[in-house]
Every structure is written in structure tokens, then in C-alpha cells.
Symmetry: C2
Subunit: 279 residues, 2 copies
């Protein structure tokens, strides 16, 4: 028997990944969770049929979500990650020796549990004494707080199901308020080649909540056949004011890659033109 995971980028385009076996499957309170062993990418976390992360290429996504904003901050000490129950973003956050506390707010406890058991190379940092894992809805978590974090990173699934409320002006405004002075923000903000309207809408919402908002790109093999869009935002810090790299063990991120990731090809400019801040 040959098993292939079919990851539909659109209904006319898919990435097909040969699968060795299903390791774990659970219908959680929020989503259909599967962990499978693939031949090309090693072990993979699948939520509602969509590849979230794989052992082979997760470093690209997690490094770019964490290190771009954190290297714009002069001294990030308290960091909040919303989503990201696999632990990969937290692992990257902890590479910054300045970080004293990292809070992970994940809505689905089953993701944390399954990744802790089955994907230790990604979840390994969740047991670090600097980390607090909070099972809660990120939308609610930021509602009643202000000035608590140096960085907020949103590591969500696509905007549907449990993640829908994380793509919302009110949420972004709450995140802005939760940041201390000099605070920075980044989020995964979807696929600009195949979903330009979605990317434009998300960017517009973030731009309404932050005076500085800048899209940046990274290419991740299991994400959609083209570069993925992230958005950096802040209350004033500029995306290109990069601190010297303060982490070791990085495989994708560097100062050069940081700066290069903000160079958008001209065919994409219109998605961000009216809103793009001067950061």
C-alpha cells in the first residue's frame, strides 16, 4: 500500500507527500489532529488536513517568526507566543539570552500534549523553567492586559476554526496594548501568491492597529509552493534596525536574511501599498 498525504494549496493544485505511517490521531475539542511520518520531511503535524510543521523544514518557519521581531528589540525579556502549541517558536525565543520569561497561550491542549510526546525535537523547550504554558484562547488572554510583554508572536493555523479570532482588528489592537514601550510583534500572515486578497486584508487590519507594519517573506517547502508572508509590526521600532545576532544554532535566519526578507517583488507591492508604514 502506498499512502500519500494530499495538501491542497488550491482546488487545482496540491503538494503530495508520501507517508510511511500515521503515528497518532485524535479528534480534539477544536480540530482533527494527526501526526504522521513522511519520507521526505520526517514527522509532521497535521491539523484539519493541513500540514502545520515538519521535522525537516520547521526551522525556516520558526526562526523567521521569532528572530525577525526579536532582533529588532534591543532587550527582549518577556515574550508571549499565541498559538504555536508544537513549541517550535518558543524554542527559538529561548535562544535569546535576554529572555527571562516566555508564555505560550495555546487554545488546544491536545496539540501541546501530542507534540510533547511525539515531536520532541520541536517541543523540547516547553519544559524549560523560563516557559509557562497556558491553555487558553489567545483572543481572551490579551483582552484585559496592558504593557506586559516585549514581544508578541502569533503562530496560528489558517484563519478558520479556532484561529479565526486571531485575524481581527480588535485582537491586533489588544496585542498592541499588551506590548511594553519598544515592543515588537510578528505573525504568520498567509500566502500571497495564491491568496493575495486574504493577505491584503490581514495586512490592512494589522496596519490599523500598529503605526509600523511591514510584510516579509520566507520560503518553506511544505507551505504552498511559494514564499510565505509574515508581518512585522511595532509601535515605532523599524524592521530594518537589526541588532547584532545574539543567538547560536541558527540555520535559516541571519542579519542578511532578515534584511532580504523585506524585499518584496514589484508584483506584490500593490497588496501592501496603501497601508505600508515607513518602518
Amino acid at each position: 500500500m502506498e499512502l500519500w498525504l494530499i495538501e491542497r494549496h488550491t482546488d487545482r493544485l496540491s503538494l503530495n507527500v508520501k507517508v510511511e505511517k500515521t503515528v497518532y490521531r485524535e479528534k480534539t475539542r477544536y480540530q482533527d489532529l494527526a501526526i504522521v511520518d513522511t519520507y521526505e520531511f520526517g514527522r509532521a503535524l497535521i491539523l484539519d488536513g493541513v500540514i502545520q510543521t515538519t521535522e525537516r523544514d520547521e526551522f525556516i518557519y520558526h526562526e523567521m517568526l521569532a528572530h525577525v521581531p526579536l532582533h529588532v528589540h534591543t532587550n527582549p525579556e518577556r515574550v508571549l507566543v499565541i498559538g504555536g502549541g508544537d513549541g517550535g517558536t518558543i524554542r527559538e525565543v529561548l535562544r535569546h539570552p535576554t529572555v527571562k520569561e516566555a508564555h505560550l497561550v495555546e487554545i488546544d491542549e491536545a496539540v501541546v500534549r501530542a507534540c510533547t510526546t511525539y515531536m520532541p525535537s520541536i517541543s523540547c523547550a516547553l519544559s524549560d523553567p523560563r516557559v509557562r504554558v497556558i491553555i487558553d484562547d489567545g483572543v481572551e488572554f490579551v483582552k484585559d492586559k496592558a504593557g506586559e510583554y516585549d514581544a508578541v508572536l502569533v503562530d496560528s493555523t489558517d484563519p478558520s476554526g479556532p484561529s479565526l479570532g486571531l485575524f481581527n482588528v480588535e485582537f491586533y489592537s489588544n496585542v498592541a496594548r499588551v506590548l511594553r514601550d519598544g515592543g515588537v510583534f510578528a505573525a504568520q500572515t498567509e500566502q500571497p501568491f495564491f491568496e493575495p486578497d486574504l493577505v491584503r486584508r490581514i495586512f490592512h487590519m494589522i496596519s490599523q492597529a500598529f503605526p509600523v507594519a511591514r510584510p516579509y517573506l520566507a520560503t518553506i517547502p511544505t507551505y504552498s509552493s511559494w514564499s510565505w508572508c509574515f508581518t512585522f509590526a511595532s509601535k515605532g521600532e523599524h524592521a530594518e534596525n537589526v541588532m547584532p545576532t545574539r543567538c547560536t544554532g541558527l540555520r535559516y535566519y541571519s542579519r542578511e536574511v532578515h534584511l532580504a526578507s523585506f524585499a518584496l517583488p514589484p508584483f506584490m507591492h500593490h497588496l501592501f501599498e496603501q497601508d505600508v508604514a515607513t518602518g
Copy 2:
């Protein structure tokens, strides 16, 4: 009936593209040529089962192959394209108002003929009076010439069949000799994420023939799920000495994208480390 084109990146990973119909098919002297209409990417040229170019994303590949080297040259007048029978690279070359003559050397006359008939948006420039189409083996064409071109661009299929001789130190040395003083070179040099050893071998060969050789990246949806590698080379001109953009109508290339394309993530450095010139 649903038709799907299965583009195998590896034997464990494929990109599957839904096809409306086959427009043209020919077993040429050199390869199996097909032109198909896809739903996601428009019309596509397929050689020996591998997607070569599609109407929707060809601009990325052709702009990056042509404009990176040509914008390093102060005044490119005579340009040689080897391969590229679809005409897309020549079309980009002719955007440079400095160019007086562009020669296309394509081994397979059937590619030129089929693309002229069925892919006019890509092949349109082949009838320009500045263009000469020469049906010949590029390997032979450069053997007995010296100091004739300001730029040589190698727009080949993967290194097998008719393209094998284009991935070879002797060929690259002949190309270097064919360049005038100040001449520049670029080639498509395969897929670094899934085929790192191949990319390393090709880069090593180019580095033996040119004092300056620099890899650069661009992400093309139908090419392999990660960024594609190109190589810039010259007898002394440095890849980052970019002229002001002298072309109109560009959708992917810009000065910023040019510079960003040379920023390689750290996990790839080792592929080019021993050989990388200081260009």
C-alpha cells in the same frame, strides 16, 4: 474525467497540477514535448514530463535569469542565450535599451516552433529584428569563439539528455572565453533544498571557470517547492554592483530583489563555502 499533471520533485514528493487539456504533443528529436492548459498556471510547456515554464509564473524565472547579470553590466549590447527556446529569456533581454543583438542558440527546433505557435506571450520577442535564432548545440557553438558577447545566459533543462553538456567545466570555460571584457554570465543551477549535492557540483564547476561566482535564489511556484538556485559569474564584475534599473514592465526584479537574492540562509552556506568568490 479529471486530468492531473504529476510533477515529481523527488520520488516521495510531487506537485500535482490540474489540467484542462493537452494542446500539443510531439516526440521531438531530443525530447518529449507537451503543451498543456492547466487551471492554476495557464498554459505550460512540459519537456520529458518536467514543467519548464507556465504563463502564470514564468516571469519570475525569466526576469531573474536575465536581469540580475544584465544589471551588473554597464552597457550590455550583445547577448547570447543558450537554451531558452520558449523565448522568455530573450524577451527579458530585449527590455534593456542598450541591447543591439540577442542570439538564441537552442538545440531543439521543435521547442521554438511549438512555443511560437502556442505560447505567444512568452515567445513574442523571437521575431524582434535584434534577435537571431540559431538551431545548434550550445556546447559546440561556444567552442570556436572568443570575446564576442557582453552576457551569456544559460536557460537549460535539468542536467540530463540534451542539456548534459551544459553542466561541464569545459563548457563553462568556453563561455568565459566567449565573453568580452566586463562580460557577465548567469545560469539556472538547480534545486538546493532537495538536490544539494548537484547544486554544489555545478557551482564548483562554474567557480573553476570564472574568478567571480555567486549563487542567488528566487522562488517559482512550479519549480520544486523551495527557492531555485541561479549562479551569477564574471571575470571580475561583482554581483552586488547593480546599475540603476534600465527596464520597464518588470514584475519580480528590482534593485532590492537583486540584492536580496544573494542572501543565502546559513544552512546552505556549506554548499558554496570552499568555492565562493568575493563577488
